[in-house]
Amino acid sequence: MKRHIEALFWLTLVGAALVWSFNWLQLDLVRLLRQDSLQQMGSYAGSFFPPDTSPTWLRQIFKGALETLAISAIGTLLAALAGAALSLLAAGRLGMLAKDMSRLLLNALRSVPELVWAALMVLAAGLGPFAGTLALALHTTGVLGRLFAEALENTPPGPALALRQAGAGPVAAFCYGTLPGVLTQWLSYTLYRWENNIRMAAVLGFVGAGGLGQMLYFTLSLFQQSRAASVILAMLVLVLLVDALSAWLRNRLG
């Protein structure tokens, strides 16, 4: 009985939060559903059709999609390299001070969203795909560094220790004793983040960081809706392809 009353209390709280939210935003959904504004939205939506499928525009979209893929690939690669380096520190291999500092750095990198990094990097590197690459690299370094460090901590220390005691240097002991144990896990984390980053790279362009997003932003700002429609379709195809490919790979490998 007491449990029921408690659940009721929390549910009331959730309900109150809902009412407060709609009140605070002063969402006028009724106004949105009125005749003229529905008509307005309808005519705006209608202006997207038919999508622009002229060969020159399609070629540009293809280039944009390639750019998006390149941004995500290079960004993820840079992040994997930086993440691997930082994970060595974060796993406590080079002292406690380095461990705490690198954990702090990784947390900071991770908690700033990609889009905010992109807006900052546009200032540092100018408009264009390079800013997007850096933004993805920075955020993903935070994510991968932490995952890599966890993998390092969970790997058995035996092989590396044996090599060390047999007289191998620290680098050789790491390369032949520790790395083989974590490499597959590191690789699968990296691939998983790449998948995420492809989706992210498609929208980073909204703040000027290249790729399909930038094309969408430009075309919408220039009121070229039919061109924008084909960019959106391209994004949709890209996302669906990546989803299908990763599901297929997971079935095959998993």
Binding site: W10, V14, L66, I74, V203
Partner: protein
């Protein structure tokens, strides 16, 4: 003889394949580097460096003037409200769609073990709609809605409602199918309506999982509604965007710290609710 020579040879036998693999990787990566205009030198160009250094210098101290904090508080509340209202609207669309496309309530499956093909054909449009709803990123919807309904949180709420209805609908349908099917089947066979079979046969066992997934999505919605401000959909994101454009480093730091606190708080709140409700 051969063995002893191999022993004396200090070279790594795997060196050649590794070298070839490295060369191949570089050849494959080169177009990527060209496409992304990968020029680290631009970072230290005096013009860019100057702008960025000035911006970074403004980071300290964080802007804590009462006017700005008041604005910030309003934007934070707006962000929370956007996430909550968006998720509530998403539920309105997700629940009916998930009921439509879940196989858990199929009457024909009771007789033959699998749903009739005609009924399955009718489930596909609902599934397709869910895929379409969730495959376009929420920020693209926000960008479109900002142009359709104007700047402000309304666009963000609608964008969250659309994308999250796709995600919630799909996962809800899967949850209905993953719980014990026997109570619902028994009810259906005894002649109850599908809605009653759902409410009394599936909901009691699925409620916990449904609640915790919904709360998790609410957390995601809070994060997403921060981001969506970048295209003009209100909330904290719009403030960050404006402050970055005005090179107000101190404001950026304060907003970022607020964002971190907000995400942490949302995290704590949702795990608290999960414990209490689920």
């Amino acid at each position: 003889m051969h063995l002893s020579r191999a022993k004396a040879d200090p070279r790594d036998p795997a060196a050649l394949p590794r070298l070839l693999l490295t060369v191949l990787a570089i050849v494959l990566l080169w177009p990527g580097l060209v496409l992304t205009e990968f020029k680290p030198a631009t970072l230290v160009e005096s013009r860019n460096l100057d702008v960025f250094a000035r911006f970074l210098a403004g980071f300290w101290p964080p802007d804590l003037s009462s006017d700005f904090l008041r604005l910030l508080g309003r934007a934070t509340l707006e962000t929370l409200a956007m996430a909550t209202a968006g998720l509530a609207l998403a539920l309105l669309l997700a629940v009916p769609l998930s009921l439509l496309c879940s196989r858990a309530l199929s009457v024909s499956a009771l007789l033959t073990g699998r749903p009739a093909w005609l009924a399955d054909m009718l489930r596909y449009p609902a599934r397709l709609l869910l895929i379409l709803l969730r495959s376009i990123p929420e920020i693209v919807w926000a960008l479109l809605f900002v142009r359709a309904v104007g700047l402000g949180p309304t666009a963000g709420v609608l964008a969250i409602a659309i994308t999250y209805s796709g995600m919630l609908g799909k996962v809800y349908a899967e949850i209905y199918e993953s719980v014990d099917q026997r109570p619902a089947r028994a009810l259906l066979q005894a002649g109850s309506s599908r809605l009653a079979a759902f409410c009394y046969g599936i909901l009691p066992t699925a409620a916990q999982e449904l609640t915790s997934y919904t709360l998790y999505r609410w957390e995601c919605a809070v994060r997403a509604s921060v981001i969506m401000g970048f295209v003009g959909a209100g909330g904290l994101g719009q403030m960050i965007d404006l402050s970055i454009r005005m090179f107000a480093g101190g404001e950026v730091v304060t907003i970022l710290l607020t964002f971190l606190l907000l995400v942490l708080a949302a995290d704590q709140l949702s795990s608290l609710l999960r414990r209490r409700l689920a």
